[in-house]
């Protein structure tokens, strides 16, 4: 049967229209806007070429924000992968409470982070917070977790790890399940008996594709951090927790510099795009031992 070209286009049109309206057009608009000096609500705009990008390059706030975001990304990804993998290995070795642990660890992923942020705010409160009470109880100095310039970003990263490690855990559990029991048995007979040897020679290499996937997923999510920052610190104190999305938000909707915020958004989208490409290529190579 021959399909009329018009039929093809007709069938493709709903998806195409949605794709253009919801995805391509906004990105294109942002890209064009990043080349102007448009202010939110202004009637006119001027074409200023790459001046916004030049300003980004020398803007200390943007640089700080970019550095913070990258540090946050590394901390959260590293922490979530470590905790997720460790917990997955522990849960996998015990069959009894597997379901319970999986649910418990996954809960932060499923819950609304804004609501959880309020809980964390309470936990980390300098005088009434549970964390400081516990610290005092064991004889350590209480800290002002969210208002200390040195600590605030790390506190946010800890919340990020708390939230993300459940996702890493579930993905690692799935990865561990896909390792055939026969390989562990063969290892046991070949002398790969000690748990550390088994991890190093069998489990870890076979988890390679899973790990790469978990790292990129966590990195993309960490790059998008906004809600905890907005609720808990608003980028402060003294820009110490300023992260990309929050800076974009502040530039665009507090200072109304839409053109400048658009330029930042383009940089942000490029970062997400890069990570998505990495993730995509790891997904494609499911059988990665070629």
């Amino acid at each position: 049967m021959r399909i009329h070209p018009l039929t093809t286009w007709l069938l493709l049109s709903p998806a195409t229209v949605l794709l253009i309206v919801l995805l391509l057009a906004p990105v294109a608009t942002v890209a064009v806007m990043s080349l102007t000096d448009w202010q939110f609500g202004a009637a006119t705009l001027n074409w200023i070429g790459l001046a916004n990008y030049a300003e980004l390059w020398s803007d200390p706030v943007f640089r700080k924000s970019l550095a913070n975001t990258l540090l946050y990304l590394v901390l959260v990804t590293g922490g979530a992968v470590t905790i997720g993998l460790g917990a997955a290995l522990l849960i996998e070795s015990d069959t009894q409470l597997r379901g319970f642990y999986r649910t418990a660890f996954f809960m932060p992923v499923a819950s609304t982070l804004i609501a959880m942020a309020v809980v964390w705010q309470f936990l980390l409160h300098p005088s009434a917070g549970l964390v400081n009470h516990l610290l005092q109880w064991v004889g350590l100095m209480p800290q002002d977790w969210l208002n200390n310039r040195q600590l605030a970003l790390y506190s946010l990263a800890a919340i990020g790890i708390w939230q993300m490690s459940g996702l890493a855990l579930v993905l690692f559990l799935a990865g561990l399940k896909s390792i055939p029991q026969d390989l562990r048995d063969a290892g046991a007979l070949d002398g790969i008996a000690h748990p550390w040897e088994r991890f190093r020679r069998i489990t870890w290499p076979l988890l390679g594709p899973t790990t790469l996937f978990v790292v990129t997923v966590c990195a993309i999510r960490a790059l998008q951090v906004f809600d905890t920052v907005h609720v808990l610190t608003r980028g402060g104190p003294n820009k110490s927790t300023e992260v990309l999305l929050h800076t974009i938000y502040a530039e665009g909707f507090s200072f109304f510099r839409m053109g400048y915020a658009s330029a930042m958004t383009v940089v942000f989208i490029a970062g997400i795009f890069f990570l998505t490409q990495v993730q995509h290529s790891t997904m494609e190579r499911k059988t990665h031992y070629g």
């Binding site: 390989l183 048995d185 046991a188 007979l189 070949d190 059988t287 070629g290």
Partner: protein, 383 residues
């Protein structure tokens, strides 16, 4: 090397009793096959011998040594798995070297990089590689040394798995259905290769399969297992010609053995309305089963147990015709394998065949084989 003595082995998974007090002696240097349908406990038994599972009760001894006290790697067993179980991230060479390196080097020597620091470790690596290459060469795998398992065919993978098992010269080889994932031709070829390997190495092979052809063609002795017990342990010839249990008779042989209901009156055995012989232990009024192989029926000799009935199907297999016959004398059907040069057989026709009385097996109601003395042919005492 002493024999492997297995006594009273039981194993339970959840509420399923997989092994029920199993006894077995594996002689030094023999090729023993554990044969049975899936779920009979044969793989579990193999895993218990390997040390991959612990039994609930019973002992496994190698002479004076209690194997149950030893970890899998200390038991001097090598295993070949149905799924090959090659390490997918290692090359063929690394796969084969792994058992040698894990044994030859201690924890510190195995740490990454130590190889470049210590000449002694480097020498061990070189030795391991040399003997691994020798084994690979003997199996014709030397051209595949740097490939990854994913780049190999099923047969090549199983050869690599064999090489990995052979490289450390174990005293027992364990095979867990190693040929099940291969196609028929390859299976046949590897069957012969594994048997040759056994003759070369002269060590004990324990081979698990559900394929009776594998079991019969490769083994010195076969242990037929069912529901967690060994029904019969014997040479392939004994298993086929003197099945100790009706289930053994049913499992081994293709097409399946014909079974007819019989009766024991006093000492005499009756089937299809006539007396065919005697059993020493009288069992008055006891039901029994009369079995004979489809290959044993003849159409020419007017002697033995006469069977006749309507042919319901005919299968041509090349050398043989397989005819299914609905007996005129009873409810049952019988199957006969007849030489294909026999006169044409057609569905609907009547077939008359005779089974020599000395080819008949008699099983008691509980399935055990009964010693049977066939009636001298001419003293046919029709009731």
């Amino acid at each position: 090397m002493p024999d492997i003595q297995i006594n009273g082995l039981t194993k339970q998974f959840g509420s399923t009793q997989v092994l029920k007090g199993l006894d077995l002696t594996v002689r030094d240097g023999e090729f023993l096959t554990l044969l049975g349908s899936s779920g009979c406990g044969k793989s579990t038994l193999l895993r218990l011998i390997a040390g991959l599972e612990q039994p609930d009760a019973g002992t496994i001894r190698l002479g004076e040594r209690d194997l149950l006290q030893l970890s899998p790697s200390q038991r001097d067993c090598a295993m070949v798995f149905q799924t090959y179980a090659l390490y997918p991230h290692m090359t063929v060479g690394e796969n084969i070297c792994t058992p040698l390196l894990m044994r030859g080097l201690n924890f510190w020597q195995r740490l990454p990089g130590v190889r470049w620091l210590s000449p002694a470790v480097r020498r061990k690596h070189a030795e391991a590689e040399a003997s691994a290459r020798k084994v690979a060469q003997s199996l014709g795998m030397d051209g595949l040394w740097d490939r990854k398992p994913a780049q190999l065919s099923g047969g090549q993978r199983q050869r690599v798995a064999l090489a990995r098992a052979m490289v450390r010269h174990p005293s027992v080889f364990l095979f867990d259905e190693p040929l099940s994932n291969l196609d028929a031709n390859l299976r046949q070829a590897l069957r012969a290769e594994i048997r040759q390997l056994h003759d070369q190495l002269g060590v004990t092979f324990i081979y698990v399969t559900h394929d009776q052809h594998e079991a019969m063609s490769m083994s010195d002795r076969v242990a037929v297992m069912r529901e967690g017990r060994v029904l019969q342990l014997g040479t392939p010839d004994e298993i086929y010609n003197q099945p100790a249990h009706v289930e053994v008779a049913r499992f081994v042989g293709a097409p399946r053995i014909n079974l007819l209901p019989g009766e024991i009156r006093g000492h005499s055995v009756w089937v299809l309305g006539r007396q065919i012989g005697h059993v020493p232990q009288g069992q008055d009024g006891g039901a029994c089963q009369i079995g004979f192989r489809p290959q044993m029926g003849t159409r020419s000799v007017d002697d033995g147990l006469e069977i006749h009935g309507r042919i319901t199907s005919v299968e041509y297999t090349g050398a043989e015709l397989i005819a299914t016959v609905q007996l005129a004398q009873a409810q049952e059907c019988c199957v006969f394998c007849l030489h294909s040069s026999a006169p044409d057989l057609h569905v609907g026709e009547t077939l008359r065949a005779w089974v020599p009385l000395d080819q008949i097996h008699v099983f008691a109601a509980d399935g055990q084989r009964l010693a049977f003395q066939p009636q001298p042919a001419l003293l046919d005492a029709a009731a």
